[in-house]
């Protein structure tokens, strides 16, 4: 899923200066699961923003609404009616950055701000802890590494074994993280595929990553 984090209140207040009627829009997708932009986080953020603005003597009216997903134009259209009837001057989107972009493209008469920093594609390590697992390079080759991704989970993205900074199974760049090459080696050994690691991998083609420009996936069988 997409992992995101709430921006600091101060940064959000700077964005919202000059606005006193705001719609704070959450998303029931990834950011609900990672506790960054679901209905509950939206309620907490709205309360925090109202508290601060009232303390500063500039009260702000914030309505809350949480869409099923902000990465679907169909759900974005649910904002039409409240925008028409409530006269909001700004929308604060608590989704990954797809959400505010969709909203901005759909409604050209309202300011749109991101409430979250979209951080990475990852998974839950334990309750309240998430880690990066995929860099969306567009050309997955984790079968060569025992099903583990060195591009994402090696701090240096090495494809031919660990660097000299691997120590005690931990990474020198982020000591709290496992050295993924340590795990890859152990796993390949268990699988009896250690020889496979000795194969020379060709230089990775990064054109499927962002160096190749804006990416798009088309499934002709699904298009209308």
């Amino acid at each position: 899923m997409i992992i995101a984090e709430r921006k600091p209140i101060k940064e959000l207040l700077n964005m919202l200066s000059g606005h006193d009627r705001v719609l704070l829009v959450g998303c029931k997708g990834c950011v609900t699961v990672c506790n960054a932009g679901g209905a509950k986080e939206v309620a907490v953020l709205a309360a925090a923003l109202r508290i601060t603005r009232r303390r500063e003597g500039r009260p702000i009216g914030i309505d809350e609404m949480t869409l099923d997903r902000q990465c679907e134009p169909e759900f974005i259209s649910w904002l039409e009616e409240p925008l028409r009837e409530k006269g909001y001057t700004a929308i604060l989107s608590a989704a990954c950055s797809v959400g505010p972009q969709y909203i901005a493209e759909r409604f050209d008469n309202v300011s749109v701000m991101p409430a979250l920093n979209t951080t990475f594609i990852g998974g839950t390590l334990e309750h309240g802890v998430w880690a990066e697992f995929c860099r969306a390079c567009g050309n997955c080759g984790i079968h060569n590494f025992g099903g583990l991704c060195p591009i994402t989970r090696c701090s240096k993205g090495l494809l031919h074994g660990p660097c000299a900074g691997s120590s005690g199974g931990k990474c020198e760049v982020r000591p709290e993280a496992d050295c993924i090459w340590h795990l890859i080696y152990k796993r390949m050994k268990n699988l009896g595929q250690i020889e496979k690691l000795k194969e020379l991998k060709p230089a990775k083609n990064w054109s499927s990553y962002w160096s190749g420009g804006v990416r798009r996936v088309v499934r002709e069988d699904l298009t209308l």
Binding site: K40, V44, R55, E56, G57, P59, I62
Partner: protein
């Protein structure tokens, strides 16, 4: 009227320990400040950050969460969860420019009536020293008009 500031304090008390301690304080005829309004919760693990924030937003001068002693939670770890949530709300309030010490966690055993009274006194004195909730005095009427949710 002496004009002394009398804080309005909300206390979320767990039914197994601190609420029983409040009962005991009453039975023991201990006096504690009437500023504290007790909200009974089945466990402090039920207290959500939003409950605390809403209390502050709606004018409470202070909020505290009173749970069982650590290790004594009827639901094993509800008071530990509450402790983390209180710390989370304190961080949010700091970001909002509101004194984090307006919110606090206490752990009080069911048998500790005096402990309940003491917590109420400590909290009341703390909040009295801090002064009124900064929101209460600011644009009350305008805020009501703007509040849409």
């Amino acid at each position: 009227m002496t004009g002394r500031f009398e804080p309005r304090i909300v206390a979320f008390c767990c039914q197994y320990c601190s609420y029983s301690a409040a009962d005991l304080a009453g039975s023991m005829r201990l006096s504690y400040p009437p500023n504290v309004k007790v909200v009974l919760v089945p466990c402090t693990g039920r207290v959500d950050p939003l409950h605390i924030l809403r209390a502050i937003e709606d004018g409470a001068d202070g909020v505290y969460v009173a749970g069982c002693l650590e290790g004594d939670c009827h639901f094993l770890e509800g008071n530990f969860k509450a402790k983390k949530r209180v710390a989370y709300v304190q961080r949010i309030l700091s970001e909002c420019g509101v004194e984090a010490t307006r919110v606090r966690m206490f752990n009080i055993a069911a048998s500790d009536g005096p402990g309940f009274a003491e917590a109420a006194i400590i909290m009341t004195e703390t909040i009295r020293a801090l002064g009124p909730n900064p929101l209460a005095a600011k644009n009350e009427k305008m805020a009501e008009e703007l509040r849409v949710s």
